[in-house]
Symmetry: C2
Subunit: 189 residues, 2 copies
């Protein structure tokens, strides 16, 4: 098949099915495929974008949170991060979430890329960052529903915890792939 066949789909209509703002919106789009076929209901989801942070302290340890996560139905580890507030830039959200969730501030920030969470339904964009030279400036106070414990680990401990299944989410695999594998960093959606 030649590349000229890879044409965009056309959105011929859209109706809202569910508005649970600010958490979730669901719509059904009427799609026209390049060959003229019509797909009556192609579902699109809109959820808040989020930031996820690979944060290293001044002495080279990685900042993590241990908390119950309802998506996994268990207590597990995750990197600091959270939803962007309306109108908030990704880096500003990352800085705010790191401070709120851990009480740490970073000396330097590096974007590791922005990526869409679902290839069909879109859902949201995840913004990944590296925060270096982090030091504690306040007490953690996230305001989240989850009670969380701040955990400091060496890279070897992070990889051991990963292999033990303590990181159950795709976004965390992506973050570690970007942070550990220098070849992947700096790209995005």
């Amino acid at each position: 098949m030649s590349k000229r066949d890879l044409r965009k789909w056309k959105v011929r209509g859209e109706r809202e099915l569910l508005d649970a703002s600010p958490f979730l919106k669901v719509s059904a789009q009427r799609i026209e495929l390049p060959d003229g076929r019509i797909v009556e209901n192609f579902y699109q989801l809109a959820m808040p974008d989020f930031a996820s942070i690979f944060a290293e302290t001044e002495d080279g340890r990685i900042l993590l949170l241990r908390a119950y996560r309802h998506g996994a139905r268990r207590v597990c580890l995750a990197a600091p991060g959270g939803h962007l507030s309306p109108g908030e830039a990704p880096l500003a959200a990352a800085k705010r979430e790191l401070l709120e969730e851990t009480g740490y501030e970073a000396a330097a920030w590096q974007p590791l890329g922005s990526f869409i969470t679902n290839a069909n339904h879109r859902c949201q964009t995840a913004h990944f960052f590296r925060a270096s030279g982090c030091r504690r400036v306040a007490a953690a106070d996230s305001g989240d529903l989850e009670e969380a414990e701040v955990v400091l680990m060496s890279r070897a401990q992070v990889i051991a915890a990963f292999k033990a299944g303590e990181f159950p989410f795709v976004s965390q695999v992506a973050l570690f792939g970007l942070a550990f594998g220098a070849a992947l960093a700096g790209s995005g959606a």
Copy 2:
């Protein structure tokens, strides 16, 4: 905070908000937090689990697909993969999708881990695999809505395409993190 505070949430009720089976179901759960507070509407999404495959040919090239993906609103690259059929095991789905989408079969398969796509709303589980020694045995015939072009790339070409922004999805970052970074492989949800 001591670890004993990290207790599970209790689901006290659930009502269905949207049934767009087999693509999507949305429900609102009534949650009791460990401190006794009630969250009236915590949204849970159910979408089909999927397999994503890092497939290498006998001569060391990586099998990819170039296609329009509506989640990104553009033509881009992605690894072979797709939804599990009802009752289908992840590895069986991976083998089926690789054959349908590319016309290739693998000499060996290795699971790279299974991970949940959303920490709050759950959404679905992604199953990652490495397929080695792939050889072409048939014509590609995915039956998908997307017209797709099978592309063979060296690892260096994949990384260059990644840096150029041709892989817009979080799941692909995770797949490459698992496939390129041996330290991460073999864990999961």
